[in-house]
Symmetry: C2
Subunit: 131 residues, 2 copies
């Protein structure tokens, strides 16, 4: 539970790591997380949960792969929201930006399944506390 407000800009200024979300709020059994984005994430899937994205700054792309293996990319800018449906393979990438995510507490950044090696700049985590 949040006793005090948390400002998203201040939260983002408190760390520099990319693809390493910080938990800014908890509500019910969900987390609100923010992250810096830059470079390619990894193809991954959350079998049991949708994932909500809001672009806070910059640009954030989400490549999506359908059940037939066809890929397309959703290009998002500041203020854009998008929900990746559960079970959908996706790979975020960004030339630089920051995002807010809603997802169930415990959701791993690299999903239940990911493709290939996790790049060194991608943190496989359920989110870190704000420091």
């Amino acid at each position: 539970m949040n006793a005090k407000p948390v400002n998203l800009t201040e939260a983002l200024q408190s760390f520099t790591e990319v693809y390493s979300p910080r938990i800014v709020a908890r509500m019910n059994d969900y987390d609100v997380r923010v992250a810096h984005a830059r470079g390619e994430h990894v193809w991954h899937t959350h079998a049991d949960t949708d994932e909500f994205f809001l672009v806070l700054d910059g640009r954030f792309d989400i490549a999506l792969r359908d059940a037939d293996g066809h890929e397309h990319t959703v290009v998002l800018y500041q203020g854009d929201t998008y929900v990746v449906p559960r079970g959908t393979e996706h790979k975020p990438s960004s030339p630089g930006g920051s995002i807010l995510m809603f997802e169930p507490t415990g959701t791993l950044t690299t999903g239940d399944h990911h493709e290939g090696r996790i790049p060194a700049h991608v943190d496989s985590t359920t989110g870190h506390e704000l420091s």
Copy 2:
């Protein structure tokens, strides 16, 4: 499910009513809603759910009443987030602003219980579709 991105600024520009949330995204059994705020809301309580607020623009205050009847007000500006814990009596107010909320689908803007009459400028709703 969102097939297309929804931009929060465009969503807010698509309607003018205050305290009448529009649903911009659905994820799992939760809604992401946006609303314009101006004036006094009504004291109300959500017995079974926390409620997440993010101020998108302007100022948004949340008066809170504890179990002993003591009141205090959390003052929020753009980029500030706050979670009102379940079972906590609260009354939003604003000199003008807009907010994003994250809450279970079906959550009523005026809670399971509210105090007194609902003002004419407060829409008692579970959220409207974007038009």
